[in-house]
């Protein structure tokens, strides 16, 4: 318990979190501080590139594990399955209509890669190892949740959601997935040799770049929060805190079942707990244009993301370490 608090404090006072807080504060205070769109997009390409490559190189180093397939499968199942829980909760807890509830649910089945990145950097600083292929699990979890959400909508209103071949291809081949999986594959192919060649680009400056990116995320989240003040009910906000706790518990179960390491279990919890704010929102604008974007963006980026970043990650890491044990 003391350990959790200790971990939480260390986490809260890390530069990474503090820059996020700075961003939120600056946006709420209406400062004109801003990161150019091109820079934000590039920082996010960098993070995908680095995290994918490092995951692949680590798989190359530690060998492929029987658990890899099980983990990928678990990821797909979780992503399909979590939206149903989220949808049920939303319909019970909040007054969101079917469409908005389904759109929100899609976000919680999918994942936030920055939350994942932040968690790996906490694990690293705690010297806790994790399976390199968890980054591939992250990629597997991006898309299935969208299908579940559209199915939930279609059940209620036959012409509610639009899913067609084009959209399916767009979702499966969206830039984040392609870069993450591609870098993972290249990392796996080129291994330690490849990693050494580019380590001073993707390893050494990583945390610093993450700080800058989280400053931007804080600015965007803070701007969003300023906009929606008072438009979203407390019950809806409560969902955005409850759902990651439920998600992470289910993720914990899957992680233990598969027999992952403490770090792997923690990451499985983080993935299940996190909510998408890039790929899914774009898909929702195409497939469910009538759903209100400010609801799902606020919950995912404005509430769940900061919750996971500050409280969630240290909690999941502590729980996973306590149950699995860190060697």
């Amino acid at each position: 318990m003391a350990d959790i608090f200790d971990l939480a404090t260390t986490n809260l006072l890390s530069p990474v979190i503090l820059f996020f807080v700075l961003g939120v504060a600056a946006a709420l205070a209406r400062s004109d501080l801003s990161v150019p769109e091109a820079a934000a997009k590039t920082l996010s390409l960098y993070l995908l590139f680095a995290i994918g490559f490092k995951g692949g190189a680590s798989v190359a180093a530690h060998g492929v594990d029987a658990r890899l397939i099980a983990s990928l499968g678990a990821g797909v199942v979780l992503s399909f399955f979590l939206p149903f829980i989220a949808f049920g909760l939303l319909r019970v807890m909040t007054n969101l209509n079917r469409l908005d509830a389904a759109a929100v649910a899609a976000h919680y089945g999918s994942i936030s890669i920055v939350t994942f990145v932040a968690a790996t950097s906490v694990l690293e600083s705690r010297l806790i190892d994790s399976e390199g292929y968890m980054v591939a699990v992250a990629a597997m979890m991006e898309a299935p949740a969208i299908l579940s959400a559209l199915w939930l909508v279609a059940r209620g209103a036959p012409d509610g959601g639009r899913m067609d071949a084009t959209l399916l291809r767009e979702i499966m081949l969206n830039g984040s997935i392609v870069l993450l999986v591609g870098s993972f594959a290249i990392g796996a192919i080129t291994g330690q040799d490849g990693l050494e060649k580019i380590a001073s680009f993707i390893v050494a400056p990583f945390t610093g770049v993450l700080c800058l990116f989280l400053l931007d995320m804080g600015l965007v989240a803070g701007r969003g929060l300023r906009e929606v003040r008072g438009q979203i009910s407390m019950a809806t906000v409560a969902f955005a805190v409850l759902m990651p706790l439920i998600g992470s518990t289910i993720g914990l179960g899957f992680g233990l079942l598969i027999g992952l390491s403490a770090g792997g279990v923690a990451l499985m919890m983080v993935l299940s707990a996190s909510a998408s704010y890039i790929a899914v929102p774009a898909a929702m604008r195409v497939a469910l244009p009538e759903a209100n974007p400010s609801i799902y963006l606020t919950l995912s980026l404005g509430v769940t993301f900061p919750f996971n970043l500050t409280i969630g990650i240290p909690l999941y890491v502590a729980v996973a370490s306590a149950i699995v044990g860190v060697n």
């Binding site: 769109e37 934000a40 965007v220 701007r223 774009a282 898909a283």
Partner: protein, 102 residues
């Protein structure tokens, strides 16, 4: 100089719909269009800005110069795409040089 009557159609549409719109225009036989950036704005669904955004969010603008007689075909094709979406479609009169290109 000699100019010819034409129509300028400007469609402000959500970024994730851009490719669908340009595909629809192409299918409707539109010969040319240009895509212009939009940095931010405000409307019934609130205020937005492109600053610091990572995903394919916000609005874009697609501009087509076409012969007046082709306007209706274009508008119908465009309308099918924007129908359920945020966006603004405006049409204005203009004159063009080198009308043979349109």
């Amino acid at each position: 100089m000699e100019t010819h009557k034409a129509k300028r159609v400007a469609i402000i549409i959500e970024a994730p719909m851009e490719r669908r719109l340009t595909n629809a225009l192409t299918e409707a036989g539109v010969q040319g269009y240009s895509i212009l950036p939009v940095l931010g704005g405000s409307g019934r669904s609130g205020q937005w800005t492109r600053e610091g955004q990572v995903g394919r969010s916000g609005m874009m603008q697609v501009v087509c110069i076409i012969r007046p007689e082709r306007l209706d075909t274009l508008l119908e094709a465009a309308f099918k795409v924007v129908e359920r979406h945020m966006g603004v479609v405006t049409v204005s009169d203009c004159e063009v040089l080198r009308a043979e290109r349109f």
